[in-house]
Symmetry: C2
Subunit: 376 residues, 2 copies
Amino acid sequence: MKFELHTTDKNSSARAGTITTAHGQIQTPIFMPVGTLGTVKGVPPEALKDQVKAQIILGNTYHLYLRPNTEVLEAAGGLHKFMTWDRPILTDSGGYQVYSLGQMRKIKEEGVIFKSHIDGSKLNFTPEYVMDIQRTIGADIMMAFDECPPYPSDYDYAKKSMEMTHRWLKRCINRFDSTEGKYGYEQTLFPIVQGSTYKDLRRASAEFVAEQNREGNAIGGLSVGEPAEKMYEFTELVCDILPKDKPRYLMGVGTPANILEGIALGVDMFDCVMPTRNARNGMLFTTKGIINIKNKKWEKDFSVLDDGLDCHVSNTYSKSYLRHLNKANEILGAYIASTHNLAFYLHLVGEARKHILAGDFASWKKEQVEVLMQRL
Amino acid sequence: MKFELHTTDKNSSARAGTITTAHGQIQTPIFMPVGTLGTVKGVPPEALKDQVKAQIILGNTYHLYLRPNTEVLEAAGGLHKFMTWDRPILTDSGGYQVYSLGQMRKIKEEGVIFKSHIDGSKLNFTPEYVMDIQRTIGADIMMAFDECPPYPSDYDYAKKSMEMTHRWLKRCINRFDSTEGKYGYEQTLFPIVQGSTYKDLRRASAEFVAEQNREGNAIGGLSVGEPAEKMYEFTELVCDILPKDKPRYLMGVGTPANILEGIALGVDMFDCVMPTRNARNGMLFTTKGIINIKNKKWEKDFSVLDDGLDCHVSNTYSKSYLRHLNKANEILGAYIASTHNLAFYLHLVGEARKHILAGDFASWKKEQVEVLMQRL
């Protein structure tokens, strides 16, 4: 993997760059749609390319491990071939799902023993095993196995958890560096900064992660319920320590405003289920603000969803029609809303990049945050 | 509406023709995907055009009357504009849903009083009102309001029901002929032959319907649980009476074999929820036979769904991938399977047309029926 940093904004820490992977280039800052089970919910791969213009998508190691399973993925020749997606893929480590979905989990130094949320079967994830699974999935970017402590966590728990995450990181790196990709192309491994909301821990973790000198670095354990200001504070603290010549990935973030603020703090990569999950619930992010399509006010509004986007569904289907589909619980409603929301997110980071390159990102961002978060 | 009959097969009653409507031409024989609530379930309009190659779709008057409702549809300028579909649309009369979904229905000479399946509100459908609703929906082809008797029905009930359907037809025609389309284009009205499974009734009904001299005619009350042989017997009986220079529509039919047999008997138009409903349950119709995608045998079958179709999803996604999506209950599975099944149905009637025009329909049909209905 290669990262080329083109420019850094003069009035913020925002950066524009290009990541080159075995499956093509990614223009940063970038948003990565979440494709939990080998599909971005409701959006066909062809729409992801043509309408959303996604450059990289995310897969969830824990979910893919259970369904379809690694045997099927290996027989398919990896996730790219299985789901017919020839652009870059990033997989998380399953760490987050172990904690959010796993039943009866036991976290030990060796790894985590927990029960499947599908059939209750006993699973054992170790740092080494999680590397092996991600080798089989074949993502371009693999994530280290970490513990994501809840918010708030007391200092002692946060410290111990962080230290174990660091030891796990070493084991991930050892396993990763002693194995090779299974499908003839290179993969890379991103470590994850933890440390909860304690400055000294975050600093220590960012320094430890930076020392590993991997090709990119991630910030985990934020966007887990803390106030937005705290998230920005710790993102800034960590970004100031992480190397400038490597892409920075803020995991699980966020709203359009969160993303613009994250970019301003020096983050290059984002992922979040919000655009697709909220779409299924009738919430649209548009270039003019936020729409709850269930509201009566849209019943006879035949204007298109958003004329500010170069996306077929956004400038074809009306608010009235989408409201009807949502009310009637029609599959097409999920497709239209999800495709639109993701197209908007990709449009947003694309515009951010343009303004970084043009030198007026900070003023543009300030104006946008107000527009984008207003309720229409 | 105009119907041009190009040729009739020498060894069967199969016909190839062209229907011209205000929204374009339809090459017959044709299959019409069912778009109950202003959407063909799971298939975006763009996929209906590009992948399915649908020439006309169906809307359900009863469902559209309830959701979004006629006020919204009229404000939108009709269903075509509401759902962004610029090709022909046919609407049923709501008669079938009144009987299958309505609660506490009372059938009287004046019309039907029943309760909405959505909110229990009291509705009153008369032949005149059903014409008015379809004028507001704006379908190119409107259907007369009929009673669809269950199978089996006793002779007396079937006879009385048929006679009332005939009187209702006269009222539909009067209303239709004394009103105009609301959106600046012409609509047409198809009467429906009833008479259950009694030869004299069917003959009488077909003769009555033929005498009305409308631009097309439909056969209702079949495919309601009777054996296939009975359906073919009565389709043949009715087709022999209905005028040759008007398109014939066999309502609610059916499997690929049913459609090929119907074409052989002189039917020009078909509709059925089977391709989309069965798709959502994991049943695929392909050029090689029927697939239950849930079966373990497809788990590691990475061949495409059907390489015999000119349809993106059919020759892109693998059986293994679709099985995974179906098992995980992912929306994308419904999209892929529904789009594929409809593309197959349109391919099937397109091939039938080619063979009718080439003069070898009967032998081709015999061979196809065996292939298409085998379980893979």
